[in-house]
Symmetry: D2
Subunit: 110 residues, 4 copies
Amino acid sequence: MQHVQTDMQACIDACLACYVTCHSMLMGHCVETGGEHVAPDHVRIMAACAEMCRASAHIMLTGSPLHRHSCRACAEICEACAKDCEGMAGMEDCVRACRHCAEECRKMAA
Amino acid sequence: MQHVQTDMQACIDACLACYVTCHSMLMGHCVETGGEHVAPDHVRIMAACAEMCRASAHIMLTGSPLHRHSCRACAEICEACAKDCEGMAGMEDCVRACRHCAEECRKMAA
Amino acid sequence: MQHVQTDMQACIDACLACYVTCHSMLMGHCVETGGEHVAPDHVRIMAACAEMCRASAHIMLTGSPLHRHSCRACAEICEACAKDCEGMAGMEDCVRACRHCAEECRKMAA
Amino acid sequence: MQHVQTDMQACIDACLACYVTCHSMLMGHCVETGGEHVAPDHVRIMAACAEMCRASAHIMLTGSPLHRHSCRACAEICEACAKDCEGMAGMEDCVRACRHCAEECRKMAA
């Protein structure tokens, strides 16, 4: 990832890590655990968060200053996903990835 | 697209149409025309806009109310892309698609 | 979508329609119905098919002849998704979209 | 990325690294260098490769065995992108990322 501005690298890394965590936990932990883990609202938030993180990283990687709009949206969606996952069994990694991504995105959106 | 709420359908359609227009014009008209059409800032805005529109449609299609954050970002990015393309030869379709998408997204973000 | 070669348009349309159908039915019908509709294998196939269709359309829209590789993969994945959905209640639209997309992609891969 | 099967992890990592390299070099090095770096065929191959790598990683992360189809397509497209970039000034990182991704994808497609 050496081809992008250094000051954005932490945010791109956080977005890609959060994308991988949300998407793989939804397709792994959540669908295998069932119950509240496949409740419509939970599945939708996880899928929305994975997509927004992926798009946020992609837009930063374009190098366009428009990334501040997508980073702002990503921060909001990650924060909502962290809140939704909090207290659900086995979702600690997701909460952590979302919180970290939200924090990095808020910096880039400022 | 009959599986999503009717009141969102116009916005999903506008986002997908704007994604297809930005992405295909960048890969077609812009790279074939060259000059200002492949200027770094123009390429980056077109690519960022295509990605945000694609993600915005995807997040609405999840059915999560979090779409209002991505729609807000999409409206801003589409508006910026329309402004950038305005006055460039042969970019009228892109300006139109971006303006329409921005308008629909602003409604969904409200 | 007037900016791409006419002979590809039917396939791009079929891929985007299949993406929208798989993704929105997974997030709508499947998560609301529960039971076999949220079985791990079913969710994974639907998500994989939605992504492959989206990527297949995107790669055709670049205008690169490399699309024949992605179209071949898309045809296989759509066919597998159609088989998985066949006989599941309320999945007729998905079966139809996948079969149609597989057929169009096979033509483009030839 | 601890939520997916260990034997796939190297391939997922290679796909995401190749996606980031192709996309960021196209938006950075290529559009800034101009000339042959923004020739239509080169831009299209880079964009197609970035998308296929991203989709390949995404489909592996679903956990569906259908990934072997997308990995096969990804191997072909990465190999073609490596060949296209070979001999172009400053594209060594891209050649390397594409070759490595093609190799990992071939293993997963077998």
